[in-house]
Symmetry: C2
Subunit: 120 residues, 2 copies
Amino acid sequence: MAKIRLRLVFDHAMLGPGKAELLDHIAATGSISAAGRAMGMSYKRAWSLVEDMNAAYIAPLVRSARGGSGGGGASLTETGEAVLSHYRKLESLHSQHGAAEIEALEALLQPPQSDMSEEK
Amino acid sequence: MAKIRLRLVFDHAMLGPGKAELLDHIAATGSISAAGRAMGMSYKRAWSLVEDMNAAYIAPLVRSARGGSGGGGASLTETGEAVLSHYRKLESLHSQHGAAEIEALEALLQPPQSDMSEEK
């Protein structure tokens, strides 16, 4: 089933469902690599998203201690918690107030195909 | 000034400010290449976005006559008008109901720098 999700496009950055989910997993697991693994994402990719996010806001969203035998640890900063919470709130306002429009758009979407291999 | 815009993420496609603006320009100019030019976009890029959009929905969003000495002509189909109008409506609901959250998020964004050249 088609599902519409929300991405916020800023001047020099974006915040969408993937980054929000990564922040959720970091808060839950206390580890960037464990958060990435939970999403089937490479360690490198997860770190790169965290670095992007840390650079895009007035303060880092994730604090982390690289290395150490335990592999460091990671958690959301106050700014990280605020950004995530604003995003979740917008997402929920969007589903709540946009329900009719979203449903109309979803009805116009091509149903997912088993394989999108017919690429030009 | 930072400005948050809305991108909708579907399972196999996306709809955001760039594509919406392209559809607007196609409706206004009657031409895919003129619409692309108005946005500083190459002919190739504009066509590629239109092809993506035409493939993503149950019917094409843009009808066009390629070639001819006048360069063909393009217009939005009924589906194209419907998709654009649902997107604009969602965008407006988003600004209307999400204003407080958007303002809070914008206040947390790094102010735009003259040059984002400090890339890692």
